[in-house]
């Protein structure tokens, strides 16, 4: 195998066009990626001029939405809060079909309930038990964690030591523990209400999907409110509230006896793609660099056929499987190395460019960043293997290049830049090798947040490694097919 690898590497390295093609792939990936980054400009018109608001960061390091109505007391140590959610109502502004009225209604992820939160700062740690508009009773904490818990109206949060216990009950006497979380130090305890905007998707005239998000609010009526261990007086705050916000989004609390009625708007959730410019925007060039990779991968085989070199190659190494595997190894290694250089260059430089243009960058973990960079290189390498296999199957450049581009690039294009509706686009990105682009997605979709999880906005239907596995599957099948036909056919 080693001499085979060495001879294929020598071929690759000495053909000027293949080396040039690999360099072009790197340059395209970096150049187009940086162009995309340079074209990502954010401007915010506010009272202070072009100053964009800071996006809060949650305890897990994600960008988060943290805006809600909070009626609270101080919680220095142990304590608990117990309530019964007697009624949930709300207002939705200008819903479909006519978008002309403000109507009563509760959006699916409107939430009212009890919460213990570290402080009033946006993004501080919390845990909450809540009743939602259409998703039953739930326990959520620290923005990203979400647990379904039936549909009981009685909610309770208890802290003893560092442990918070969330419970629900159908009748206020028999309690069921849903989750336990840790939250240390002095905190606030009380009631909250939040109602994210009403998301509707419509088809654009050019195809694609246009999302709209309209203001809503929610009012929760809490009965039999009892708090233990709290100190100080009840206070109402709109966490993350802005001066000059629309009246409907301003929260309020009304109290009579042990009944409290709390109104609020906003959301407590991971911010998703709204949390800033995403890292993969600096890697858009990969889909263009891919074309150069495909051309090199195809030519690495077909050029041998065209010039008859394949006869010499096979005469020297009659084991045809070995020849093809060596070729695949060489082209994959070269492309991976080039892709790694390109991605490792494009990401930091591109992030710098986007920061200069007033963007905040959606924070991700170092591990995710490594996955996006290495994944992009791997994406290119696997595409090269797929193209090589197609070249060996078709033995003709034109057919192989058409096939590779139709498999890898066309689905991506049709999914994001055509009239095809997003449901069909998602299927395209599940069943074609283009699914592999999912490895570039740095911000996951959260089921507990209503958002436009569509390919056109950068959300792939499969998880990063799942999508990449689909692409690898295609490459493996093509390579196996190529080995079979190469063994059967005359050179």
């Amino acid at each position: 195998m080693i001499p085979l690898l060495r001879s294929e590497w020598t071929k690759f390295r000495t053909v000027r066009g293949w080396v040039a093609g690999s360099i072009v792939a790197v340059l395209l990936t970096v150049g187009v990626g940086l162009l995309g980054a340079a074209g990502t400009v954010r401007s915010c018109q506010g009272p202070q001029g072009d100053v964009c608001p800071e996006i809060p960061i949650g305890p897990g390091g994600q960008a988060v939405h943290d805006r809600f109505s909070f009626y609270h007391r101080a919680l220095p140590g142990d304590g608990s809060i117990t309530v019964k959610v007697a009624d949930v109502s709300g207002v939705i502004t200008y819903p479909p079909p006519d978008h002309d009225k403000i109507v009563p209604g509760v959006v699916p992820w409107a939430k009212v309930g009890v919460m213990v939160k570290q402080d009033l700062r946006q993004g501080s740690a919390y845990a909450a038990v809540m009743v939602t508009g259409a998703h039953g009773t739930r326990v959520q904490d620290d923005f990203v964690n979400d647990l379904a818990a039936g549909g009981d109206p009685w909610l309770r949060l208890t802290r003893s030591g560092d442990t918070l216990k969330g419970e629900s009950s159908p009748d206020g006497t028999s309690w069921r523990v849903i989750a336990e979380r840790r939250l240390k130090g002095p905190a606030l305890i009380g009631l909250f209400a939040a109602s994210p905007c009403d998301v509707t998707l419509s088809q654009g005239a050019l195809g694609g999907t246009i999302g709209a998000c309209r203001l809503t609010n929610v009012t929760g009526k809490f009965e039999d409110v009892s708090v233990e261990g709290a100190s100080g007086t009840w206070t109402h705050d709109d966490v993350g509230g802005e001066i000059g916000a629309p009246t409907l989004s301003v929260g309020s609390a009304r109290v009579w006896g042990s009944t409290i009625q709390l109104t609020g708007s906003g959301d407590i959730s991971p911010a998703g793609m709204e949390g800033g410019a995403v890292v993969e925007r600096t890697l858009t060039g990969a889909s263009i660099g891919l074309i150069a990779v495909i051309v090199v991968g195809v030519l690495f085989v077909t050029a041998e056929y065209r010039r008859g070199l394949i006869k010499a190659t096979l005469a020297a190494n009659p084991g045809r499987t070995g020849v093809l595997l060596a070729k695949a190894a060489v082209v994959a290694t070269v492309t991976f190395a080039g892709g790694l250089v390109a991605a490792a260059l494009a990401v930091p430089v591109g992030i710098g460019l986007m920061r200069d243009r007033n963007n905040s960058i959606a924070p991700i973990t170092a591990l995710t960043e490594v996955r996006v960079i290495v994944g992009t290189a791997a994406l290119l390498a696997v595409t090269a293997v797929l193209a090589l296999a197609l070249g060996a199957i078709f033995r003709r450049s034109a057919a192989a290049v058409i096939a590779a581009i139709m498999l890898v690039l066309l689905p991506q294009l049709l999914a994001t830049a055509s009239v095809i509706p997003s449901s069909a686009a998602q299927w395209l990105l599940r069943v074609t090798p283009a699914a592999g682009f999912a490895i570039q997605q740095s911000i996951p979709a959260y089921p507990q947040v209503e958002d436009y999880y569509i390919p056109a906005l950068g959300y792939y239907p499969l998880p990063p490694l799942g999508g990449f596995a689909v692409m690898c599957g295609y490459a493996a099948v093509a390579l196996a097919g190529a080995i079979v036909v190469l063994r059967r056919r005359d050179a």
Partner: protein
Amino acid sequence: MIRAEWTKFRTLPGLPWLVLLLVVLTVGTGAAATALVPCCDVLPSRVSLAGVQAGQIAAVALAVGMVAGEYSTGMIVVTLLAVPHRGRMLAAKALLVGGVTLAGALVAITTSAVIGPGVTPTAFVGSIVYLVLVSLLALGVAAAVRDTAVAMGVALGILYGFPLVIRMIQDPVWQERLAWISPMEAGMAVQGGIASIGPWAGLAVLGVWAVGALAVGRSRVGGSVGAVV
């Protein structure tokens, strides 16, 4: 001269199949879009003729095959011996490729229009012209780079690259700037929906690309045949 090119086209394996591929890809994708897109939300022309985005691959392959194919087999030497005038040879090829694509596009677009929810006259004529201009653009590229795979990569990169990048950047000003120089994005404005460019200006952008590619191709075609064969 055109007859000679026609004979080559007719007898080469693969090339006539590409016309069929053009029709199948265009009609198939258009029909799929028609079936998938809910009625009346999207411009009918865009839906009926969605297949042009896919079918143009075949138009590109056809044009590239006509030129780069000859370089790979050495046939170009014979062609140039018979027709020493490089420009005339390229013109003959352009006429043939344009004509064949026109015929294929006529069938493909008419069928798509019949299947789909409706097509404006502008979109109908414009999409046919679009496919012909795409084939000429690819012909110019192929004459310039002379290698099948590289020519297809360059031509499809020019076509598909812009829309992919445009969708991934989110600044509308940059999107429009890029759309104005993109042969595919501007050219597809004949199907309506891009008010800022307009149908004929969009086709003109594609036309400039095609003429430019042919000019580059003309200056490079047959320049050093010996080195290639």
